[in-house]
């Protein structure tokens, strides 16, 4: 079951890298929230109940409901539904995503250790690469926001890869996740959308030498 969830998570990342519609992004982020909840539920059996409840609540309430809801409200408010037409084509994004997957497998195997779960590490690295690709390849700030959320999911997967021995660190990471994500999305909704046309990253280019 756990491997099934992890594979689904990897597929969601590939789908994310080739998608061009923002609503699909929001749905995939919500789907990843559910998948991460399932993974945490199966993986973190040894942590105490309070920590487990906290982690599950974070993935369910925050990653699956609150963040996608906020993303939808940004889409409705700005009326921008697709990625910028200058963004990399889906086909090339797919090639890059597959290369990232291969690189992640190679790196995770190079880091093989009895205490690190190689499958988690592979997916964590893959998630990180996809997040960075979303930030680098796309022109709209909304895509950058999605990239950041994906990087946060990579951090979560990294936490899983080193097991349940550091729950304090995982909880701190989760708190950071909640706080910063809400802060960034709020800025995106309340400020940038009203001051900059269509949330284009090119518009955020006035600070020059």
């Amino acid at each position: 079951m756990l491997n099934f969830l992890i594979i689904l998570f990897a597929i969601s990342l590939i789908y994310l890298s080739v998608s061009e519609r923002f609503r699909t992004y929001a749905k995939l982020i919500a789907a990843q929230g559910i998948l991460l909840m399932g993974i945490a539920l199966f993986e973190l059996k040894e942590v105490n109940t309070a920590s487990l409840i906290f982690i599950l609540a974070e993935t369910l309430i925050f990653k699956t409901i609150v963040v996608p809801y906020l993303l939808y409200s940004i889409i409705n408010r700005t009326g921008v539904y697709k990625v910028h037409n200058k963004s990399l084509l889906g086909f090339y994004s797919l090639i890059l995503a597959l290369l990232a997957l291969v690189l992640s497998i190679v790196m995770a195997n190079a880091l093989e250790n009895p205490k690190i779960d190689t499958v988690y590490l592979t997916i964590a690295l893959f998630t990180l690469f996809i997040g960075v690709l979303l930030v680098v390849n796309h022109k709209l700030i909304f895509s950058h926001m999605i990239g950041f959320l994906v990087i946060e999911n990579a951090v979560f997967m990294f936490s899983m890869s080193v097991g349940s021995e550091m729950t304090m660190l995982i909880n701190i990471g989760i708190l950071l996740d909640i706080f910063v994500s809400v802060l960034i999305i709020s800025i995106l909704i309340n400020r940038i959308g009203s001051k900059f046309n269509k949330l284009e990253a090119d518009n955020l280019n006035s600070l020059k030498n």
Binding site: L111, I141, H144, A154, V162, K195, N209
Partner: protein, 475 residues
């Protein structure tokens, strides 16, 4: 004592934001600057004492805390001048966030645990973003967005580095992530994981030290934030980034990755100076030019760390003196804006005629920043090059020297233009504000301090620096 410090800071911050009277907010920030100075003195008098388990008054933290406590009152004073003709509610948020920022930086200086440092660094991002967004302009919004976004990505990278460190600690049988525990456990674990952890942490905190590869965060923030805030971001915050990277570097210095870390630092340092030199040649915005100068100095500090030997001492000394010079330059830029009503280089000019005291600060500050004797920075840069030559780093030496020549040219041409030339672009500024020369005293005091440090370094300072760098195993 640190608990009382945090409590008092929280109360004063809340007073500043909720009791909406200017005088009370002013009283709160002045009281806080006194508390800050008293706390720094207490920390100095109780060296190596640990409080609340997570904070240790070690020499490295204390020396930068003392520097911060000297710069901060000046930043408060210039903040008052900044708000002189502005009737705004933002006055209260500004001062509340300023107290929060200084408190978080102070905590990060003294924290002895990687996770506690990480939390405090995130807190500095939040408080700094309030201050950067202060003007609420389109530019401020852009800089704030970039600052939060990149710092958050950086902090996520640092978190992954700490996770790897945590994992290596578990392997060595250690359960906490204090720098002492990392030092003890690091030599027992696989160097590959330590390398990964160091790279992630270095990239993550490079946002704060304003060094390559995530240096752009600080450049935009400095160019938009009010000048007193820019002074703190480019000094106290840079010092904070340095302390964290230095502590991790020192903790891993007894491991086989030591020389590998040195190479990383040398590469990052040279690239920082390269980027700074390149962009300073293009700089058309006065604040951005000084922000790139911070990048250049942070690069020199990384080179100094990477080369070792005299370099360690030189790195700390350079940062101390850079803090005084750069803060005075930013304070001066705030006054320059009040006189010229612009930060654009092409629209700046005749500053010597309009405000001679301010122009003098710019010229003396320029010589200090460019490490021309009798600037104290000359001593630290001399030590860095001495260490480079003694270590046979000829390639780095030559490249850095050439790049510093570019920096000297770029900065001196621009400062001389601001002070003596006619503006190339006319901006309608009928009534330039008259500034009383007394307002410029803090800048002169700081610059004189840096010049004095060229000839004499008080024994207590020398001792603090030596003790601070003694945590490096191979020193």
């Amino acid at each position: 004592m640190i608990l009382y410090y945090f409590i008092i800071a929280a109360i004063l911050s809340l007073v500043a934001v909720f009791v909406k009277f200017r005088r009370i907010a002013k009283a709160a920030i002045i009281t806080f600057s006194l508390v800050q100075a008293a706390f720094a003195s207490y920390a100095y008098l109780h060296l190596n004492q640990t409080e609340l388990s997570y904070f240790t008054f070690d020499s490295l933290g204390v020396v930068f805390l003392l520097v911060l406590s000297v710069i901060f009152p000046a930043a408060v004073f210039h903040g008052f001048r900044y708000f002189k003709n502005r009737i705004t509610r933002r006055f209260f948020y500004y001062h509340a966030a300023l107290i929060g920022l200084i408190t978080a930086i102070t905590g990060a200086y003294l924290a002895n645990e990687a996770t506690v440092v990480w939390i405090l660094v995130e807190a500095t991002t939040l408080f700094a973003s309030v201050l950067i967004y202060h003007e609420k302009t389109k530019y401020a919004l852009e800089a704030t967005w970039k600052y939060i976004f990149l710092c958050s990505v950086g902090i996520a990278f640092a978190y992954m580095g700490i996770l790897f460190l945590g994992f290596t600690m578990n392997q060595g049988g250690f359960t906490d992530l204090s720098f002492l525990a990392i030092t003890n456990a690091a030599s027992l674990v696989d160097p590959l994981y330590l390398k990964i952890a160091f790279v992630f942490i270095f990239i993550g905190y490079s946002t704060k030290m304003e060094i390559f590869p995530m240096h752009t965060v600080g450049i935009d923030a400095n160019s938009v934030a009010p000048s007193p805030v820019g002074a703190l971001i480019s000094t106290a915050m840079v010092n904070m980034g340095f302390i964290i990277i230095f502590r991790i570097y020192a903790a891993l210095s007894a491991t086989p990755i030591f020389s590998w870390m040195n190479h990383i630092l040398l590469i990052a340092g040279v690239l920082s100076v390269l980027v700074a030199a390149g962009y300073m040649l293009k700089a058309k915005h006065n604040k951005r030019m000084f922000a790139y100068s911070s990048l250049e100095n942070a690069g020199l500090v990384a080179i100094a760390l990477g080369v070792g030997g005299y370099g360690y001492y030189a790195a700390v000394l350079l940062l101390i003196m850079h803090s005084f010079v750069k803060s005075s330059m930013f304070f001066q830029l705030g006054q320059l804006y009040r006189v010229l009503n612009t930060m654009k280089l092409d629209a700046s000019g005749n500053y010597m005629r309009l405000y001679p005291a301010g122009a003098l600060v710019l010229i003396i500050g320029m010589f200090c920043l460019l490490a021309v004797p009798p600037s104290g920075l000359f001593i630290s840069e001399y030590m860095i090059f001495k260490a480079l030559i003694f270590g046979n780093y000829w390639f780095v030496t030559v490249i850095t020297m050439l790049l510093l020549c570019v920096v000297v040219y770029a900065m001196s041409v621009r400062i001389m233009h601001i002070c003596f030339s006619e503006p190339r672009e006319i901006i309608h500024n009928k009534y330039p504000e008259k500034i009383h020369p007394a307002e410029t005293i803090t800048q002169f005091v700081f610059l004189m301090l840096v010049i004095a440090l060229c000839f004499y370094r008080p024994p207590f300072l020398d001792e603090l620096i030596r003790q601070g760098i003694s945590i490096i195993a191979n020193h």
